[in-house]
Amino acid sequence: MSNMILLGTRKGTVIFDRSNSAWNPRPIEHAGIPVCYAARDPRNGTLWASLDHGHWGPKLSRSRDGGMTWEDVLSLKYPEGARYIVKYLPTPDFDPEAPVGQPEYKDATVFKIWNLAFGTAGQPGRLYAGTIPGGLFVSNDGGDSWELNRPLWNHESRGGNLFAGEATSENRWGGTPASIDYGVFEPGIHSIVIDPRDPLHMHVAVSSAGVLETTDGGQTWTGRNRGMLNDYTPNPESAWGHDPHFVAGCPGQPAHLWQQNHCGVFYSDDGAMTWKKVSMPDAGVHFGFPVAVDAHDGRTAWVVPARADSERMAIGGGLCVARTTDGGQSWQSFRNGLPQENAYDIVLRHGLDVSGDSLCFGSTTGNVYLSEDRGETWQCLGHHFPPVYTVRFG
């Protein structure tokens, strides 16, 4: 049973501690600074926060004493020569029939450190970080130094090895609206799923490209988007251009992966070789951002449904959490303890987590809810937090 919950909020890091049966928040850390991800490394207890300074650039902050003191980690940087092909938001005069011009290149700098993932127990110093503009970084020394994963950065779906020269293929990665706050339109890696049984085996999810898999520790990557449907594009079954909001895996059954995106909830029981759409719009399960998966049963997952891509708010003014225990063939909605009128909360992609029988989510309205019975009933941990970006059990 977890005894800690970390919130990354627009105004800092909030840590809850469990004392007997009560969850108590500490005074906020990183006060006033947006924190786009916060988590505890289960291997050594180190706490991490990804700071999204408005003026001073993205920074990692690390605490090795349970949150008493924090230190800057300034070593996550793109290497010299890291470039990418620029994409722009289409303008009103965009002509899709116009001939494709020469690619425009840009030197990479970190705009956002969007999430962190911790290696397996057998790799005690291994950490991963996903960034905007779409780089996966790896550390083997507990975060003291970081290195860009070049095979993914140089992937043919992104134009090939731009360290070496000109593009050798088309850039199929789009930009995420989440990057527009930084004045750019670039992709971002927000999900990193490590196979606990095989540390060489990972999936990452890229907004807006899709899911990629490696089975050789990141030396080669393959797109895994078969079965995905982008129902608003000319070719819904395109190999690329998908926009997963979040991808989560089942630690105990790593072949079971879940994805929530613009176009529904998708499930794979074959390691993302194929995805199946398992939305049930009539039951309110379709659009949303986060998804959480049971640690042992890959068929059991939770989502926090929202109304629609075009209306990003709770459905009908009431919050609910939906759970499936049969791989998305059926969904059950739970509302006990959640507001059922005048609720407009949206829960972002990292804003829901599960630990054993406990689930917790936080909304952009600053509400935080906890369930200790697998999502069936909920208690509020506070109504007045800053907008919540991320919730993780420690």
């Binding site: 300074h53 408005g54 003026h55 001073w56 650039g57 300034l74 700098t109 970190v110 930084y182 004045g183």
Partner: protein, 92 residues
Amino acid sequence: MPSVEITPHLYRFFPALENRTISVPAGSVAEVLRAVDELAPGFSDYVLDERGALRRHVNLCLNDTNVIDRKTLSDRVPEDATLYIFQALSGG
């Protein structure tokens, strides 16, 4: 020697720079920032990106004039000048 004035916002991260006069050898803006970074290691990561360019929401002024070269920071900082480092007003 030129002096450097830093927004108090940055004292939170670099308390060693508070309540002191910062004087560094004349040179380019890049050289002046390197000298400040020696006084407060990590400082340049807050105002420059990994390419050495000024971050988008940071402003530098030489006396009361904006620094022109935000990319390579080649503007000269004369002996009697003051380099001001502060956050850009970016709305909100």
